[in-house]
């Protein structure tokens, strides 16, 4: 087991109370697995990424355990997590490519980052060059300023930096959103290649774009309003989902080959609940076409078939 | 209605803000003195009331008298009025010009913006002292209004700059495009869509302009470039220095006006900071 998350609960502190952004996440990630984490805005996917890497106020750790390669991660302790960041787990945050300091050369940025992890840049230089070859960036990029690079180049640079120390787990948060189609494909393929060459053991790829996940992920975890809905292999999620939310979500996605005139798709009526005071039990209850009385209790995230986990009373009922 | 709620939310924070309360109180006290004072004064500012010349404060002359026996209190309250007038007119003119030029440059962009920018920079760079000296050389008699106009005409650039910048950023928002698609005329868009978003800044800018104009006027008066008629706090200090009040120890001649100017302008700036905290929640020390 590469990553194990048990009953992770992380809330946001606000003046009006706690926003229950992540309420009971339990899942595992195997070595070599690329898991896509998908959901709509407010589902908690970025909160999950932050909880694993940067749990600081206003985020508040409530309960739960995270284990990576058999070692428990002290996620609630920011300073102790320093030893793990970049070396054991690494994150590419949203908009990372826009966060490069415009007044510093790329080479300087990398050197400073490595120094903060107590790694001298010179010893890693050869490895750095090898990685640059891998992502097809010229070596002289180290002497350039961020403003001289295109979006795709910056994103690839960020990927190189984040994986330089061969972390076991890489979390990529919306790294393909702001790119054009060709670069998006290249970046996605590079992620897979990093895994194939064992530079990174496993990955969590966070995005709202399910079709990209279909192309690169082995499994997909769907979240809704801070709770996990379903986790299964990519094929299963796309072709044979079981959770009502997943079913409605997948069927609302337009794809080439589907025309309004021939096949009118429909969305999901209603809106996501506010997480300041969410409804008890399954949070999808109000919008679910098959909700029944038991749904007022939180459904457990159970394995209904091998490798297929669902949090739904209806589904676990029919399975049982 | 969120708008009144937001209004009352502002009021709530405004009333609790220490700086705002203190600053506003000081200014209002002086304003009251300026309004009521002249009717309380027993003498006119320039009358040679005291045949004994300069005398320290007493029961008869609350602020003492000058070398010429003029009632310092009378001069003070009349001067205070003049100071407020200059502040209002000069500051008002400066704000008006800044708003006009800022909105026009920010909304129209392009060539208009370039030209107005150049104008702003020129006015910013003009050495106001030098221009004033030239003007004083030509105008034998200058009144308070002339001084106010001069101050107004030279103090608008920073307001214009700030408003231009904010207008630029608001203009690129899509609701402005939609307003255009609704057939709204440009001036209507500026005043009905863009300006309301900047009300807090406009208020702060006008307060700062008022304070700045007052200080400017006092400075000009003090060095002798002020009005040739009438009395103001700065003129009082000018006279005091000219007639050796500092050397002879006639503190009651220059301390009241100096203190008043300092307190008024200081209070205005403090009010400004307080208002900024009210409008900008991130600055509140909660």
């Amino acid at each position: 087991m590469s990553l194990t998350v048990e009953n992770l609960r992380v809330y946001y502190q606000t003046l009006r109370g706690d926003v229950k952004a992540l309420d009971g996440a339990t899942f595992t990630l195997d070595d070599g697995e690329i898991m896509g984490l998908a959901g709509e805005s407010g589902c908690g996917k970025t909160t999950l990424a932050h909880s694993l890497t940067r749990l600081s106020p206003p985020l508040r750790y409530v309960e739960g355990r995270v284990t990576l390669d058999g070692q428990e991660l002290p996620i609630a302790d920011m300073s102790r997590m320093n030893d793990f960041r970049m070396k054991k787990l690494s994150v590419i945050p949203q908009y990372a490519m826009n966060a490069l300091n415009p007044t510093r050369k790329i080479g300087t940025i990398i050197r400073d980052l490595l120094r903060s992890r107590h790694v001298e840049a010179d010893t890693s230089l050869q490895e750095l060059y090898r990685r640059l070859d891998l992502v097809r960036l010229p070596y002289d990029i180290l002497k350039r300023y961020p403003i001289e690079l295109s979006g795709g180049m910056k994103q690839r640079m960020v990927m190189v930096v984040s994986t330089l120390l061969n972390p076991s787990l890489l979390i990529a948060d919306e790294i393909t959103s702001a790119l054009d189609v060709a670069t998006q494909k290249a970046v996605a393929e590079m992620l897979v290649e990093f895994r194939d060459r064992a530079l990174v053991k496993s990955m969590i790829v966070i995005t709202h774009d399910v079709s990209i996940l279909y192309q690169l992920a082995d499994s997909i975890l769907i979240m809704y309003a801070g709770q996990l809905s379903e986790k299964a292999s990519t094929q299963t999620i796309i072709r044979a989902p079981r959770h009502p939310y997943t079913k409605l979500l997948i069927s609302s996605l337009p794809t080439i080959g589907v025309r309004h005139a021939e096949h009118k798709l429909s969305g999901i009526p209603g809106t996501t609940p506010l997480l300041l005071d969410p409804p008890a039990g399954c949070r999808f209850r109000d919008r679910c076409p098959v909700a029944f009385s038991k749904c007022s209790e939180v459904p457990p995230f159970v394995e209904v078939t091998d490798g297929h986990w669902v949090a739904c009373w209806k589904e676990s009922e029919t399975h049982a | 209605m969120m708008k009144t709620k937001k209004g009352s939310e502002f009021l709530f924070f405004a009333l609790r803000n220490y700086k705002l309360r203190v600053g506003l109180t000081v200014v209002l006290v002086f304003l009251a003195i300026a309004l009521v004072g002249p009717s309380l004064a027993r003498n006119t500012p320039f009358a040679y009331a005291n045949p004994l010349g300069a005398e320290p404060p007493s029961g008869e002359y609350w602020f003492g008298t000058t070398t010429f026996g003029q009632d310092v209190f009378a001069q003070f309250v009349h001067g205070l009025r003049a100071t407020f007038v200059v502040g209002a007119i000069g500051g008002g003119l400066g704000t008006f010009l800044g708003v006009l030029i800022g909105f026009t440059a920010g909304y129209r962009g392009g060539l208009v913006d370039e030209v107005l920018n150049m104008l702003t920079n020129i006015v910013l760079v003009i050495p106001t002292m030098a221009v004033l000296l030239i003007i004083t050389a030509y105008l034998e008699v200058r009144g308070i209004i002339t001084e106010s106009i001069f101050i107004g005409l030279t103090s608008w650039p920073w307001v214009a700059r700030a408003i231009r910048a904010q207008t630029f950023s608001l203009r690129s928002r899509e609701f402005v495009d939609l307003a255009r698609l609704s057939g709204m005329k440009p001036w209507k868009i500026v005043f009905c869509e863009i300006a309301p978003n900047m009300m807090s800044y406009l208020l702060l800018a006008s307060i700062l302009q008022f304070g700045g104009a007052t200080l400017n006027a006092a400075t000009l008066d003090f060095i002798g470039l002020g009005p040739t008629t009438g009395i103001s706090l700065g003129l009082m200090m000018n006279n005091a220095v000219l007639w050796g009040a500092l050397l002879l120890g006639f503190w009651w001649w220059f301390v009241p006006p100096g203190l008043a100017i300092t307190l008024i302008v200081g209070a205005l700036y403090v009010t400004n900071v307080g208002l900024d905290e009210v409008f900008n929640p991130k600055l509140r020390e909660m």
Partner: protein
């Protein structure tokens, strides 16, 4: 209905306007009555510039844009206002499209003042409610609320309702659902499709090929300001001829096929011209192109 003929737009950029940026080059296409045409391109393709020119938010550079045969380039004042009764737009960011300090329905008030000043209270209320129902919104749920109290999907539909109210002929929709959640996107898209079957012409500007396929009859593919391919959506998507279109079709992530299974032969990235602001691609786009008909209803740009 809408016709573009040889439309170009050049910006002067750089200090003192030294350099020139050709945002749109010689674009020609049309939108017929009751038809939806997708204008497809990535960032920098000029699609938003074209949309803004059609809406007269930008001046028409060169060439002609005409509605029902009448050129719009010289419209001003009341002529322009009349134009806005026929053509309206909806934009990408629902929260930026509303003035945050006013309630969302103030927008209807503005329309009333500008376009229907003599309407009575009762009449107006009816009209507003009708247009809200037209887009699937319940008047009781969305009126008298501030923008931040409504969701992105509701706000976008509000803006479409605005178009319904004016009874326009053409709607320019510029990336209107890219900022919405997946489950609400399709609802807004369906609203557009329903309006289209009611007779509204639609210019659907997007970078997302699957949306274009879903809603439009014809598609125009733009690359760096130039039309590289256009025609019936079916034909262009199933049989892309231009290298750029083929690259798009091969690179777009789909839910029915994996990238390995597509057979369009994507181009390599890591082109030498990848650095920002390169001149190589500029030169490439400057070559003279003409549109030739490859098959009925399908045109491709060829060099020469």
């Amino acid at each position: 209905m809408l016709s573009l003929d040889g439309v170009s737009k050049v910006y002067n950029v750089g200090t003192f306007g030294g350099k020139q940026l050709r945002a749109v080059r010689d674009v020609s296409f049309d939108v017929r009555d009751g038809e939806a045409v997708s204008l497809i391109g990535e960032s920098g393709s000029g699609k938003t510039t074209i949309g803004k020119m059609i809406l007269r938010l930008l001046s028409v550079g060169s060439g002609t844009i005409s509605i029902d045969g009448v050129s719009i380039a010289t419209l001003r004042g009341s002529g322009l206002k009349e134009y806005y009764r026929k053509v309206q737009g909806v934009f990408q960011d629902p929260f930026s499209s509303f003035n945050p300090i006013f309630k969302a329905d103030r927008m209807f008030e503005v329309l009333r003042q500008e376009f229907y000043p003599e309407a009575s209270e009762k009449e107006w209320e009816e009209k507003v409610h009708e247009s809200l129902r037209c887009v699937g919104l319940n008047p009781e749920h969305v009126l008298h609320k501030f923008p931040h109290q409504l969701s992105g999907g509701q706000l976008q539909r509000f803006l479409i309702a605005r178009a319904c109210l004016l009874e326009i002929d053409l709607l320019v929709a510029d990336e209107i659902i890219s900022m919405l959640d997946a489950s609400t996107r399709i609802d807004v898209l369906n609203v557009l499709a329903d309006l289209k079957s009611g007779g509204l012409s639609l210019l659907f500007i997007t970078h997302d090929l699957s949306l274009a396929y879903y809603i439009s009859e014809r598609a125009v593919i733009l690359q760096r300001g130039r039309v590289v391919e256009m025609g019936l959506t079916e034909r262009v998507f199933r049989n892309p001829l231009h290298p750029y279109t083929r690259m798009l079709m091969a690179s777009v992530p789909r839910l029915d096929k994996r990238w390995e299974d597509t057979d369009y032969g994507a181009g390599e990235i890591g082109r030498p011209s990848e650095l920002a602001g390169s001149t190589a691609e500029e030169a490439l786009a400057d070559e003279r192109h003409t549109l030739t008909q490859a098959e009925p209803g399908h045109f491709v740009a060829t060099s020469g």
